[in-house]
Symmetry: D2
Subunit: 304 residues, 4 copies
Amino acid sequence: MENLLNKIIDNNRHLIKNGALADYIPALLQANPNHMGICIMDIDGNVYKAGDYSEKFTIQSISKVMSLMQALIDNGEDYVFKKIDYEPTEEPFNTLFKLDFPHTIKPSNPMINSGAIVTTSLIKGEGEERFNRLLELIRRVAENPNISYNEEVYLSEKETGDKNRAMAYLMKSRGFIEGDVEDILDTYFKQCSIEVTTVDMAKIGLFIANRYRLSKEDKPICNAKIASILTAIMATCGMYNFSGEYAATVGIPSKSGVGGGILGTIPYKMGIGIFSPALDQYGNSIAGYGIMKDLSKELNLNIF
Amino acid sequence: MENLLNKIIDNNRHLIKNGALADYIPALLQANPNHMGICIMDIDGNVYKAGDYSEKFTIQSISKVMSLMQALIDNGEDYVFKKIDYEPTEEPFNTLFKLDFPHTIKPSNPMINSGAIVTTSLIKGEGEERFNRLLELIRRVAENPNISYNEEVYLSEKETGDKNRAMAYLMKSRGFIEGDVEDILDTYFKQCSIEVTTVDMAKIGLFIANRYRLSKEDKPICNAKIASILTAIMATCGMYNFSGEYAATVGIPSKSGVGGGILGTIPYKMGIGIFSPALDQYGNSIAGYGIMKDLSKELNLNIF
Amino acid sequence: MENLLNKIIDNNRHLIKNGALADYIPALLQANPNHMGICIMDIDGNVYKAGDYSEKFTIQSISKVMSLMQALIDNGEDYVFKKIDYEPTEEPFNTLFKLDFPHTIKPSNPMINSGAIVTTSLIKGEGEERFNRLLELIRRVAENPNISYNEEVYLSEKETGDKNRAMAYLMKSRGFIEGDVEDILDTYFKQCSIEVTTVDMAKIGLFIANRYRLSKEDKPICNAKIASILTAIMATCGMYNFSGEYAATVGIPSKSGVGGGILGTIPYKMGIGIFSPALDQYGNSIAGYGIMKDLSKELNLNIF
Amino acid sequence: MENLLNKIIDNNRHLIKNGALADYIPALLQANPNHMGICIMDIDGNVYKAGDYSEKFTIQSISKVMSLMQALIDNGEDYVFKKIDYEPTEEPFNTLFKLDFPHTIKPSNPMINSGAIVTTSLIKGEGEERFNRLLELIRRVAENPNISYNEEVYLSEKETGDKNRAMAYLMKSRGFIEGDVEDILDTYFKQCSIEVTTVDMAKIGLFIANRYRLSKEDKPICNAKIASILTAIMATCGMYNFSGEYAATVGIPSKSGVGGGILGTIPYKMGIGIFSPALDQYGNSIAGYGIMKDLSKELNLNIF
């Protein structure tokens, strides 16, 4: 298996030169574009790793999966989806314009920035507590108490996050979010700056695949229904406005982040973490997509 | 099993009163809103039927699955997806406005009207041939040579199809479609008027689930890759701008039509046909959605 | 005065090379891009001409002023402005997307294509009568019984008018227009193909300036209120999505057409006809704009 | 004349009951909805007043005329209109969505909020200086050194200004504005809170009509070209997305504010100040519009 993973990495290395590091968060430009890592964990406890699997990178939008998990735990699905829709959008992750349309009543889905800001606002807690509870959940699910956030990236996001700020104030003005906008954004910027490895991500993916259980023997931390909701949202919205093509060509429910990570989850089977920081035009890891396509084909993982 | 299906029908009958027959195609108003039918076929050859399973209804948007199948067979996936994107949209099935945006280069996906009109334009054939080839494919896949179209519905669609006409001319003006617009629309209106039963639909669903084979022993009529593409597109775009919520709450790749049908396909497992003509605000069968939710739960069919 | 006009023509001749003939109506590509003509008529009966003032060109969008005049005469302002708004738009003349928005109830104004198609639909008459009545009005106001339409341009417009067709069918589907769409479009394409000279246009401009009278001694053909409405609409919407900048830099209520004409009217003072067929990015005569700017400055014509 | 003005006030008093005080800035709800005042000043020094002409109200959006004046004085027209377009929009004063479109490069015009925020950002000065310079200009033009801002309204605007904040951050993220967003907004909220009377406004209107001169004998404070630009922008954009209808039915270049004021200017003739705080759906004084319509008709002021 490790041989196969190494071969897949090699086969996709050429894609890196067609991508570029995320440039709108200056701190992300310091990543090494040549990094490529894979970690796969299956439900039977097997773990497979290859390449730069142990490199740290910031979780970025992949945190949207975890903040949604926390918001669902805190509020239940009925309340959460009163505030955020489930619908994929063909607009980019940072789209804003529909939030200004008279007939819009909530952001399209929790995997784009506007929806994710609402998600974050729904996590219970005062001040730092909101972020700390989310961090605690991630540490618990990844079984890694050392996970923390990167202060430099956080400050960089905060400083350059004017588009997110615009969204948040627009949603505040329309009653889509409650509470202090700068506080919510602060949590949001911090959650995006959490540092993880492909191993952490494979754990998270397996946790969802395993219906919210750390192992088959464990009890779920909440009901399995949430796992299938989360998986469906990843499958339909997780790769930004490339989600449809990704579903048609890969078929693994996934979530990407502009830090270069991709988190995959295959219901009842497997969790996958991929890392390669050069991005395509949609903000997805360009080599990561290639790796996922090959994994899906070679290991027969396409759920469709 | 039939007991379960009958129970599910009964449990969802009350939803009908919250829905309404499609009113923008006058001929559809003649449907009996109380009809409710189910047909399920699994890969082992079992067939389960309940309620008004043998009632005929017009296929409407479910034909988009079949025309996409034909267009893919005729042109290959590369060519087809140069002309139509794979991306779900949060706009209604008859949305048009993005086709006028300067940066738009193709319709969002083949499950909304604009994309489906492009799909139809890609089916090979002159004049009647295009429609006849599509009809032949449907008859073959459903193993029912008696399938035909409803002349009255077709004429009604043609007469009241001004929104579709607007889309088609707009796409023509932008070079998104080639050929004679009225000819293409004529095929499109006819394909929507094809009459089927839940049994025909379950067959089609099973054929896709079975990777383009009429039975496990058969050879596929084309490669299995197309089946997973089709399934993924149904999962992400098949229920109009309710596709995301449907995926999260049902988890069965499906396509609905305003005639009241829902076609479901569960990869390697099962084909499902549902019929109940009262629609919700999205244009999906309102009781059909309820039935699918119950089937998914009771038979554990959620793929996410 | 003729000296001044000739000097102004010479001063603006260099602009032609930055413009281009309208290319979306093939027949318009046959125009001579070097033509430049001016005709000015004041309320005291003085007429000034320069350059290619007697060249014929198709009236194109300038016909929108006359069809609005006829629609107002036929229906009164209350009825007309129930069907068309008065509001300028920053979108191009052939914009369509807002017609698809749920909260839109009528096209923005009668100077863009969508509004003008509604205007044409409001002219009374069956079949050819609608066009003939409009032609008769133009002949009467321009005091030129020889005005007619160019068959070749008309057929070219009809053949390539798919964007206009899309608009018309969209408006039909939303109830913004009544009647047979192809009939209305036929009148619309014909009215755009009417051939005029700068002299005809100066007459029309003077007629409006003179509050709907052919001369100071005449009785108005309808009430003066319509003249001020028409003038206001020209001032705010007449130069497409350049109307604001044109008002700020020229200050003469005007209407342009892609045939290269500009019609100007200065209330109680003057009518102006300009012709030069090379267009800028907005679809306005590029040298015509330069000429109008100079005329406004030299003759102190800015109404603001 | 005062008789006529009083009669016009009486004729339009019934309109008040169809309007409502601005409710999105809580402090504005304290206004007396029954106030109605007029002040007219002509170029020969005549002053006519009626009703509640001496009541103070906050200038709100009418300040956009003065901030544009200051920005033009500070930067010249070429620079200003590189940053803000001149084009009227059919969207409401607080529209935002087009700022998110990929092809948008600047806000539509300086009379809507987004454009006005850019205008304010262009006024020279550090910190308080920017506001103080604008206030000084208003005092000078209105010849009233007592003009100041209402602290309570300012704080109310600041607290509830999330939509404006969203616009400003969005424009910052796209490079449409430079500098500190909260600083710019602070000036913007303060300028909206400046208190004036109809007399102050008539003076401002006359100053523009008089080509930037306090009296016919004075020298202009800058060139007359700016006066015609300002007047044209008021005529095409000054009454929000009612500007077109207002031009067609009143024909007096005007600017309204949600405080209930309307400023009118008739080139070379007259300045007009109107006050009546109940607003219509566009945010314009509902009785003020009626008064302007009557003034235009009775005094023959329509410039079209």
